[in-house]
C-alpha cells in the first residue's frame, strides 16, 4: 500500500489546483466565438493594444458584435500556419503593407470592394497615398488602421535646458549634442534593436538617413526593387548610421543594442532610473513611454520629440511614416461592419484620443489628440512636404526582417558593409 500514497497525494493536489485554476479561468473565459463574433489577429501589445480595445469596445456597443483580439508573436509564421490549417482569423492587422502583396498573391485576402467597401467610400476617408499602400495589383485590400511618424527623435527637455542644448536642425548639430553628452560623462543614446524581433528599429534609422542623403526618388526605387542594395548610396547611408550607433555613443555599445529590445530601450532613456539621454523611434514611443514605462513622465517637460534633422541641405527633412492595415481573410457581414466601423471618423477619434496612435483617416480632426506629443506628431504627418512610407515594411514577405538582420550585421562590422549589402541583394533579387 505504500506505493499508493504518492498517487493519492498527487490526485488530491492536482484536483485542488485544477479546481482553483478552472474556477478562475471560467470566470475569465473569453467570449466564445459564435456567428455574432469576429476574431482580429494583430501584433499589438501594451498601449497600442489597449487603444485598439477601446475602439473594439465601442464597436461592440454599437453593433452587438463581439471582437476577439488575438495577439500574435510573429505575424507571418502565425498567419501561414493558420492559412495552411484552413482556419485564418476573420481580420488581420498587417504590420506591413508588404504583406498585402504576399498574401493577396496567395489568394488569402478578400478584396474590399467584394466586402461592400467601395472605392468611392475609401476615397472619401483616405488620401490616395494611403490607398495605394493598401492595394496590390490595382485592387484594394487593406484599410489603413493607424499611422505613425517615424521621423522623430525623443529627448529630455529638462536635460537640454540644463546643458543649453538647442533642438538640432542638422545631422552635425545632432552629432555635436551627442559628443557633448559624452563629454559630460553621460551616455548619449540608447538603441533597442535586439531580442524578440526588435531589429526593425535599425531599419527605421537607415530609412531616415537614406531619405535625407539619397533623396525620396532613390528611396522609392530602392524599396520597390528598382535599385539594388549594392548602390553606393546605400553603403553611404549605412556608414552614416554607424556615426551614432557605435561603441562610443550608445548604451553598452553595439552589443548592448543587440541585447536590448525596443521597449527596453525606451526604459533606458525614460524609465525611473534612466541610463541614456536620447532615443529614436516613431511617434508611438510617446504612448508607450507614458503608459507602460513611466507614468510619472510629463509631456513637454521630461519627454518630448523633435523632427529628424536634415543631413544633406538640399534634401530637407522628408517624413518617414508607417501604418498598419486591416485586411479581411474571410467575408461575412460582421467583417464588413467591422472594417466599415474602423474607417469612420468616430472610430478614428476614439483611437487617437488614447494618445497611442495617429489616424490615417483624413476626417479625424487635430483636436481629438490628447496631448502635445500626439498633436505634434499628427501635425508633422499632416504637413509633411514629402511623405515616405517605411521602406522595410514595403519589402516582400519576411524580407523586412532579413533587412533588419543585415543592419544588425552592419553595426557590428562596419568594415564589411559592402559584402553584407551584396549578400542581402543576392537574397532579395527577384523577390519583388
Amino acid at each position: 500500500m505504500k506505493r499508493r500514497r504518492p498517487f493519492i497525494a498527487l490526485f488530491v493536489l492536482l484536483a485542488l489546483v485544477v479546481a482553483a485554476v478552472t474556477a478562475t479561468a471560467i470566470s475569465a473565459k473569453p467570449a466564445k466565438r459564435n456567428a455574432n463574433s469576429i476574431e482580429v489577429l494583430s501584433l499589438w501589445g501594451g498601449s497600442e493594444k489597449d487603444a485598439f480595445l477601446k475602439v473594439t469596445a465601442a464597436f461592440t456597443k454599437a453593433t452587438g458584435i463581439n471582437v476577439q483580439y488575438t495577439a500574435a508573436r510573429d505575424f507571418i509564421p502565425d498567419i501561414r500556419t493558420r492559412l495552411a490549417a484552413g482556419n485564418p482569423p476573420d481580420i488581420g492587422i498587417l504590420p506591413r503593407p508588404g504583406y498585402i502583396g504576399t498574401l493577396a498573391k496567395q489568394g488569402a485576402l478578400k478584396q474590399l470592394s467584394s466586402l461592400g467597401l467601395s472605392n468611392a467610400y475609401m476615397k472619401a476617408n483616405y488620401t490616395p497615398g494611403w490607398l495605394a499602400l493598401g492595394s496590390s495589383g490595382g485592387k484594394l485590400y487593406g484599410v489603413p488602421a493607424k499611422a505613425n511618424s517615424k521621423s522623430v527623435i525623443w529627448y529630455k527637455p529638462q536635460s537640454f535646458k540644463k546643458y543649453h542644448f538647442k533642438i538640432p536642425k542638422t545631422w552635425n548639430q545632432l552629432l555635436a549634442i551627442t559628443k557633448a553628452y559624452k563629454a559630460k560623462g553621460l551616455v548619449p543614446w540608447s538603441v533597442g534593436a535586439g531580442p524578440s524581433q526588435s531589429q526593425w528599429t535599425l531599419t527605421d534609422w537607415f530609412e531616415n538617413i537614406y531619405a535625407r542623403t539619397a533623396g525620396p526618388a532613390k528611396y522609392q526605387r530602392l524599396f520597390t526593387g528598382k535599385l539594388p542594395f549594392t548602390d553606393p548610396s546605400v553603403a553611404n547611408a549605412a556608414r552614416i548610421m554607424t556615426q551614432i550607433i557605435n561603441n562610443k555613443y550608445v548604451l553598452n555599445g553595439v552589443q548592448g543594442v543587440l541585447g536590448q529590445s525596443f521597449v527596453g530601450g525606451i526604459g533606458d532613456v525614460f524609465g525611473t532610473s534612466p541610463k541614456a539621454q536620447l532615443y529614436f523611434e516613431g511617434g508611438f514611443v510617446g504612448g508607450i513611454a507614458l503608459q507602460q514605462v513611466n507614468t510619472a513622465l510629463k509631456p513637454g517637460k521630461t519627454i518630448a520629440d523633435f523632427p529628424w534633422p536634415t543631413i544633406k541641405p538640399g534634401l530637407d527633412h522628408p517624413v518617414v511614416g508607417a501604418a498598419d492595415f486591416a485586411a479581411a481573410f474571410k467575408s461575412s457581414p460582421e467583417v464588413t461592419q467591422f472594417l466599415k466601423y474602423i474607417s469612420t471618423k468616430a472610430a478614428g477619434t476614439i483611437w487617437v484620443s488614447t494618445g497611442a496612435v495617429n489616424s490615417p483617416n483624413k476626417r479625424v480632426s487635430g483636436s481629438a489628440y490628447p496631448n502635445v506629443l500626439a498633436r505634434a506628431e499628427a501635425h508633422q504627418l499632416a504637413t509633411a512636404k514629402t511623405f515616405l512610407f517605411d521602406g522595410s515594411d514595403l519589402l516582400p514577405g519576411a524580407f523586412g526582417d532579413t533587412w533588419g538582420f543585415a543592419l544588425q550585421d552592419v553595426i557590428q562590422h562596419p568594415g564589411n558593409i559592402k559584402s553584407i549589402l551584396s549578400d542581402f541583394q543576392n537574397k532579395i533579387k527577384g523577390q519583388f
Binding site: R3, T24, T81, A85, G86, S273, V293
Partner: protein, 296 residues
C-alpha cells in the same frame, strides 16, 4: 525515494579522525552548496518577480524585494484574466490528459500483443516500431498540418494534437511496456489461459494490474512531455481559443512589450503542474524520465 538516498554512512572513528575528514571535505561542501544555490537562484528570482509590482520590476532587481517589502498577487490576477492565461491553462489540461491516455491505452494493448500473443512477423514489427523512435517531430509538421486541414479540420479542435502526440508517444510506450510485460510470471498467464480466459481478459485482469509501475512511469513521462511541448501545439492547434500555455506565453514576449510581471506569473503557472508531479511522485517521475531517455 530514488533521488534522495541517504548519504553513505560514515565509518566510526575517533573525534580527531572525524575532524580531519570534515576539514578535507570542506571544499566539497562549499562546492556542492554553491552549485545547489546557483541552480536554485534563477527559479527563485522568477518566483519573486512574479509577486512584484511592474514598476518595481523594471527599476530594481528582484533581490531588492527582500528590503522593499511590497509584494502583490495582482500579476496573477491580470495574467489569468486579461491575457487569457487561465483559459490557456485549462487548454493545456484538455490537451494533455487525452494525449497521455490514448498512447498509454493503445501502447499497452500493442505491447501485450507483442509480449504474449504470437502472430507472424511479430518481432520484426516490434523492431520497426522501436526504430520509429528516431523520427523527429519536424518531419510531421507540414504533412500533418495539411492532412488535418484537408480531412475534417482536425486542427481546429483538439483531435489533431491528440493524435499527433499519440503517434509520437506510441513507439516508446510499446517498447517500454512490452519489455515490462514479458517479465510477468508466465505461470499466471498460462493458468488463466487453461481456465479459458480470453486474451482480452488476461490483459485486463492480470497484465494491467501487475504493471502499474511501468504504466505510471510511461504515463508520467508522456504527461510531462505533452504538458511542456511547444512545437507541436504551435503548429497543430490553430484556434487561439484552444492553444495551451506553452504557445500563449511566448506571445507575451512581443516587440511592443516585455512585461516581466506577466511573463513571470505566467511561467510560474505553467510550472505548477510539473512541480506537483515532481514532488508527489518523485520515484515514478524519475523512472518516467529515465524511460523517456530513449525517446528522440
Amino acid at each position: 525515494m530514488a533521488t534522495v538516498d541517504q548519504a553513505v554512512p560514515l565509518r566510526a572513528g575517533t573525534r580527531s579522525e572525524r575532524m580531519v575528514r570534515w576539514l578535507t571535505r570542506t571544499p566539497i561542501h562549499i562546492g556542492l552548496v554553491a552549485i545547489a544555490v546557483i541552480w536554485l537562484v534563477p527559479t527563485v528570482g522568477l518566483a519573486i518577480t512574479s509577486f512584484r509590482k511592474p514598476v518595481d520590476i523594471s527599476n530594481t532587481g528582484w533581490w531588492h524585494a527582500f528590503t522593499q517589502w511590497d509584494w502583490t498577487l495582482h500579476n496573477y490576477g491580470s495574467v489569468i484574466h486579461a491575457t487569457g492565461m487561465g483559459h490557456a491553462w485549462v487548454n493545456s489540461l484538455i490537451i494533455t490528459v487525452p494525449a497521455t491516455l490514448l498512447p498509454l491505452t493503445l501502447g499497452a494493448l500493442a505491447a501485450f500483443g507483442f509480449a504474449w500473443v504470437p502472430f507472424p512477423f511479430r518481432d520484426t514489427l516490434f523492431l520497426i516500431i522501436v526504430a520509429l523512435m528516431i523520427v523527429p517531430i519536424q518531419t510531421s509538421l507540414v504533412p500533418l498540418l495539411k492532412l488535418f486541414a484537408e480531412h475534417g479540420h482536425l486542427n481546429n479542435g483538439y483531435w489533431g494534437i491528440w493524435l499527433a502526440h499519440t503517434a509520437f508517444g506510441l513507439p516508446l510506450a510499446v517498447f517500454l511496456l512490452r519489455n515490462f510485460f514479458i517479465t510477468l510470471p508466465k505461470d499466471l498467464i498460462e493458468a488463466a489461459r487453461m481456465d479459458g480466459a480470453s486474451n482480452l481478459s488476461i490483459f485486463r485482469r492480470i497484465v494491467v494490474p501487475l504493471s502499474v509501475p511501468a504504466l505510471a512511469s510511461f504515463g508520467i513521462f508522456q504527461f510531462l512531455w505533452v504538458w511542456n511541448d511547444l512545437l507541436m501545439a504551435l503548429i497543430f492547434v490553430s484556434d487561439p481559443n484552444k492553444q495551451p500555455m506553452t504557445v500563449r506565453i511566448p506571445y507575451l514576449l512581443s516587440t511592443y512589450g516585455q512585461e516581466y510581471n506577466l511573463l513571470a506569473a505566467a511561467a510560474f503557472l505553467l510550472m505548477i503542474v510539473p512541480l506537483i508531479v515532481f514532488f508527489a511522485l518523485q520515484r515514478y517521475f524519475v523512472q518516467g524520465l529515465l524511460a523517456g531517455s530513449v525517446k528522440s
